[in-house]
């Protein structure tokens, strides 16, 4: 049995597999099916200060090897989360990372303050990348100055580990990782979904009520791997890789490209029992390659010298 634990800043996780925000509810939904403490971390659905209703249905549409969603960050607000969900997550021994949203920098800070005062919150993932809301979020994540401002503002109000979640809907994601690093982030999560659209050609109407949404699933994985690799070259921060992981093999790609840990989202919809197979698969790989720790694999991409023709 290899050592699957990983360190992300001050945080040590028992394994590198986390649920992706927005794909796992508040975690408690899965407590009857799986042992939440067996995940590296449970990253819960994005939370604003106040409850939020989200978009009208239809909210998802399936596409080849993927899906587009426009949920619109429906949520119960951070205070109800702390009062109603955190006691159960603590009881179950889950390592809880909270995805924090805001329409203003003040809101990001206020939500983070509430979480900093809550027992059992292990880290904050800053959602500056949701493509489905009009104000805040991706507005910050698509501007280098905005990214820097949100991260540095939240940095001042909490000592919790801080992981900005980056959008791939920019020209150069590595420059955003750099902005996050300079602003005091402890790691970066990448990538959020790709802005996308699907059309019902018979009715000539959009498949989603919000018209556009975010593409996730195996379809995006090669682009996400590339972006992790680009960010690995640009920053020293640990990277949490996200994008279309459905198997241990997929996760290994992210580790080798430079991710210290990974998140699984869409694949959990298909198989809520995916987690045991992911850890077993990576463990078997490490044994087969004589590696004692998964951390030894991070960023170990070997690029052969160009062969002479």
């Amino acid at each position: 049995m290899a050592d699957l634990s990983v360190r992300i800043g001050a945080l040590t996780l028992r394994n590198p597999f986390m649920s992706a925000s927005g794909c796992f509810g508040y975690g408690v939904e899965y407590a009857d099916a799986i042992d939440l403490a067996s995940l590296g971390a449970v990253v819960v659905k994005g939370l604003f200060l106040e409850p939020r209703e989200g978009h009208a249905p239809p909210r998802i549409v399936e596409t080849p090897a993927g899906m587009i969603n426009a949920i619109g960050l429906q949520g119960i607000g951070v205070r109800r989360f702390v009062a109603e969900k955190m006691p159960e997550l603590r009881r179950l021994g889950a390592t809880v990372i909270v995805n924090v949203c805001g329409t203003t920098i003040d809101e990001y800070c206020e939500v983070s303050r509430v979480l900093a005062d809550t027992e059992g919150v292990a880290a904050i993932e800053l959602n500056i990348s949701c493509p489905n809301i009009k104000e805040g979020g991706i507005q910050f994540g698509c501007s280098l100055a905005g990214t820097h401002d949100v991260v540095s503002a939240v940095r001042r109000v909490t000592t919790l580990p801080l992981f900005p979640k980056l959008t791939p809907n920019v020209t150069d994601v590595a420059s955003f990782a750099r902005a996050a690093e300079e602003a005091g982030a402890d790691a970066v999560s990448l990538v959020n979904t790709f802005l996308a659209m699907a059309i019902d050609v018979e009715t000539r109407t959009p498949m989603l009520s919000n018209v556009m949404g975010g593409l996730s699933g195996p379809a995006i994985r090669p682009i996400a791997v590339r972006m992790v690799w680009e960010c690995r070259q640009a920053v020293k921060l640990p990277i949490i890789g996200i994008g279309g992981i459905t198997s241990a093999r997929d996760a290994l790609e992210f580790f080798i490209a430079g991710a210290t840990a990974v998140q699984v989202g869409t694949a959990n919809f298909v198989d809520p029992f995916i987690w045991a197979g992911l850890t077993a698969g990576v463990d078997a790989y490490l044994d087969r390659h004589g590696l004692p720790r998964v951390a030894d694999l991070v960023g170990q991409l070997q690029i052969p010298r160009k062969a002479h023709v």
Binding site: D32, N268, P272
Partner: protein, 288 residues
């Protein structure tokens, strides 16, 4: 890769790789799949659903939700599986339409809140429109076990779209059939005879109505039940992503106060069965 009960720490749900025992064609586009899934059958309540993977690969990627149609028993009466009523409409359901005995499908369940069958002296009326018949074989079976007097109002487009009548009559169900083309039963919509019989029945006899079908039908049933003072329970069939409460795609509007305020709730965990009076039928639109 499919893993089952061994990886669960709670009671339910489980993900089983279920063998297709039989594929019974009903009509062009409709079939019943019988699946060997004892672990699901043993715990499934009427009106609950399963999420089925229609392809082993990545396309279609997401599972499809299906009401549990029948609890299937072997010759000795042991629960050995479930059946589902499938309508071929897209890539996933086309695969299930073409499934062959011996094929294996990943089936996750049972999921969701069930119908609660009423006891005598209350009477139960089931109202099904088309493929909305799906939850009612198991509901009728549970009602029969309780000795509850029951009627099935069952409407379809034409005679060839009416299925499984003998299953229901065999359980002692009174059948009221309607077809839109008049080829069988009463011509018109199923809500026609329902409205008439509701108006004719004595008001002091307790009655509960269960409905599943197209949204306009369920809306009409909800209104009729409200007027008659009968509780109505409906099973909704919105687009679902995960069936576990993780994705928030299957939301439906429920009323949370008398001033017209509504709130979106997930039909996979708060439904798919809802008390009709709690739903906001004006907002419940084509997206559901």
């Amino acid at each position: 890769m499919i893993r089952g009960a061994a990886y669960t720490v709670g009671l339910m749900p489980v993900d089983v790789l279920a063998e297709v025992v039989a594929n019974t064609p009903l009509a062009p586009d409709y079939n019943v799949l019988t699946l060997a899934a004892p672990a699901i059958a043993k715990h499934a309540a009427p009106g609950q659903f399963v999420m089925i993977r229609t392809a082993a690969g990545l396309d279609p990627l997401l599972r499809r939700p299906f009401s549990i149609f029948e609890h299937v028993r072997d010759a000795d009466g042991r629960l050995v599986g479930i059946s589902i009523l499938n309508k071929r409409a897209g890539a996933g359901t086309a695969r299930l339409y073409a499934a062959r005995p011996g094929d294996r499908l990943a089936v996750l369940g049972p999921l969701g809140r069930p119908f609660v069958p009423v006891h005598p002296p209350a009477e139960a009326w089931m109202v099904a429109g088309g493929v909305g018949l799906a939850p009612f074989a198991s509901v009728a079976s549970a009602l029969a076990d309780l000795g509850t007097s029951m009627t099935l109002f069952y409407g379809a487009r034409s005679a060839r779209d009416l299925y499984y009548e003998s299953l229901f009559t065999g359980l002692g169900t009174r059948l009221v059939l309607t077809t839109e083309d008049g080829s069988r039963g009463e011509p018109g919509r199923v809500t026609g005879p329902l409205a008439r019989e509701l108006a004719a029945r004595p008001a002091d006899r307790p009655l509960t109505i269960y409905a599943c079908g197209p949204t306009p039908m369920m809306r009409a049933v909800a209104r009729l039940g409200d007027t008659a003072g009968c509780p109505v329970y409906v099973s909704l069939e919105p687009v679902m992503g995960c069936g576990m409460g993780g994705c928030y795609s299957c939301v439906v509007p429920i009323r949370h106060d008398d001033a017209g305020g509504t709130h979106l709730v997930r039909s996979c965990v708060d439904g798919p069965v809802f008390a009709a009076a709690t739903l906001d039928w004006d907002q419940l639109g084509s997206g559901h």
